[in-house]
């Protein structure tokens, strides 16, 4: 948990706006199916989440957790199924859907030549949020003017999380948010999750380790059946593939 000399929690989480909870489930995911080449990665995945809910996506490597997050973010078009936001097809207008989503990918997406603050400028301009408050919430204010190349892996992850906060979006899609974080930051993350959910936001995270998300539901993706694993071809025409 944060040290006593830091600002009180209430001050830190003030960057999170309140989202008005609608009458029906906020997010409905129906029968999402995704092919990767010949292989069915996601087979009719579905769940519904209301305002303030959290969902953990678990499953073995290659089960399609990241792919599902990318589908929900509107970055990957599924071969079948729907994503409904307040009853409206979210993937029909993916540019508009982007405004509802804060996406944390596997990579931190920081430009190493830019300072931390400069890295957050674009996200701040997109959402109208305050980057300084968000950096403060993740305890990286002191690093704001350092080039990203000088940051450690954990600090970069915190910067990427600051961008999630900065998006001020109701739907958080986090691909292994705990990657490289220390114990203190995990505590901080728990506080931020709680504040986001209290404000009516949704958290969906993939993880292999326990996350500070109390009473989060878990959706286990089954992963590969042995028979689904594509066998390598003898004379694979590699040069014809671009």
């Amino acid at each position: 948990m944060p040290c006593p000399h830091h600002r009180p929690i209430a001050r830190r989480i003030s960057v999170i706006p309140a989202f008005t909870p609608p009458g029906r489930p906020l997010l409905e995911v129906e029968n999402i199916s995704v092919f990767r080449g010949e292989r069915l990665v996601l087979d009719r995945v579905g769940f519904t989440l209301g305002a303030g809910d959290a969902l953990l996506l678990t499953g073995p490597n290659g089960a399609g957790k990241s792919t599902l997050l990318r589908v929900l973010a509107g970055l990957h078009k599924p071969e079948g199924g729907h994503v409904l936001w307040s009853g409206v097809d979210a993937l029909a207008d993916r540019t508009q859907h982007a405004g509802r989503v804060a996406y944390l990918g596997h990579q931190d997406a920081l430009k190493l030549g830019l300072t931390l603050r400069e890295n957050l400028t674009l996200a701040a301009r997109a959402s109208g949020g305050n980057p300084d408050l968000c950096m403060e919430s993740l305890n990286i204010s002191g690093l704001a003017d350092l080039p990203a190349r000088m940051l450690s892996a954990g600090q970069k992850r915190r910067a990427a999380l600051a961008r999630v906060l900065l998006a001020q979006a109701p739907l958080w899609l986090l691909d292994e948010p705990s990657l490289g974080l220390d114990i203190n930051t995990m505590g901080l993350l728990g506080t931020l999750f709680a504040a986001h959910r209290q404000a009516g936001g949704i958290v969906i995270a993939t993880t292999h380790v326990p996350l500070p998300l109390p009473d989060a539901r878990t959706h286990a993706l089954p992963g590969l059946n042995e028979s689904d694993i594509p066998q390598p071809l003898e004379d694979f025409p590699e040069d014809d593939l671009l």
């Binding site: 973010a73 990957h76 508009q96 405004g99 997406a109 430009k111 301009r125 961008r163």
Partner: protein, 226 residues
């Protein structure tokens, strides 16, 4: 959202210009290549002033075309590799406008320096100063066309294996009209003919590329993150 579009485009431009300044060596590379390649011609063709003056328009144009290709590979490639492309798409800016902003950044960091270096190179090759205006006007339109078509091709080959090899094969044929009109305008100016129509055709080419290339590039960016 509509109000935010210009602000977001400026933010992308600012970011790319800042990155270009921080990595100055990469940015200067294209211009240095342009000057060096142009300087090789007198060495290869012999120091005949008449021959060089005759060939100067073609040399400047071909070298500019090749130099503008150099940074295209990284234009979207670096964004895809570090995950920034995902975040760009998550800003809520339509993909075609993201592509347009990146193309503008390419012009500011490559096209504009080439334009500035073209004058000295042309003088070095002995091009008469009277045709300098035609050269620079033609190259202004030409470098804009190169950024648009190059950006489109870069987004189309994004994520493809050996995209770097494919890129010139895609860009060079598409930019031949610009090369033909641009060099023809200069030729006309040197022989005292009317060069207006050639530049107008170049302008028409730019007018067609301006809406079409970002649209195609936007689709390419969407496909690349799939």
């Amino acid at each position: 959202m509509t109000l935010r579009i210009p602000a977001l485009i400026t933010a992308i431009l600012e970011r790319d210009l800042r990155l270009a300044l921080r990595h100055g060596a990469d940015t200067l590379g294209a211009v240095l290549f342009f000057i060096l390649a142009g300087a090789l011609f007198p060495l290869a063709l012999g120091p005949s002033p008449e021959l060089l003056r005759r060939m100067a328009p073609g040399i400047v144009w071909v070298c500019a075309l090749l130099a503008a290709l150099l940074p295209l590979d990284r234009l979207f490639g670096s964004e895809l590799e570090d995950g920034s492309l995902d975040q760009l798409l998550m800003t809520g800016l339509p993909p075609s406008l993201i592509a347009l902003a990146k193309m503008m950044a390419h012009w500011l960091t490559t096209g504009l320096p080439l334009l500035l270096a073209a004058g000295p190179l042309a003088i070095m090759l002995g091009m008469p100063t009277s045709s300098m205006v035609v050269l620079l006007t033609g190259l202004l339109l030409g470098t804009l066309i190169l950024s648009l078509i190059g950006g489109m091709a870069a987004s189309v080959v994004l994520g493809a294996r050996r995209g770097g090899v494919l890129l010139p094969l895609l860009v060079l044929p598409l930019t031949t009209p610009a090369l033909i009109f641009g060099a023809a305008a200069l030729d006309a100016a040197q022989t005292g003919l009317s060069w207006g129509p050639d530049l107008e055709l170049l302008g028409a080419f730019l007018a067609a590329a301006l809406p079409l290339c970002p649209l195609a590039a936007g689709a390419g960016l969407r496909a690349a993150v799939e």
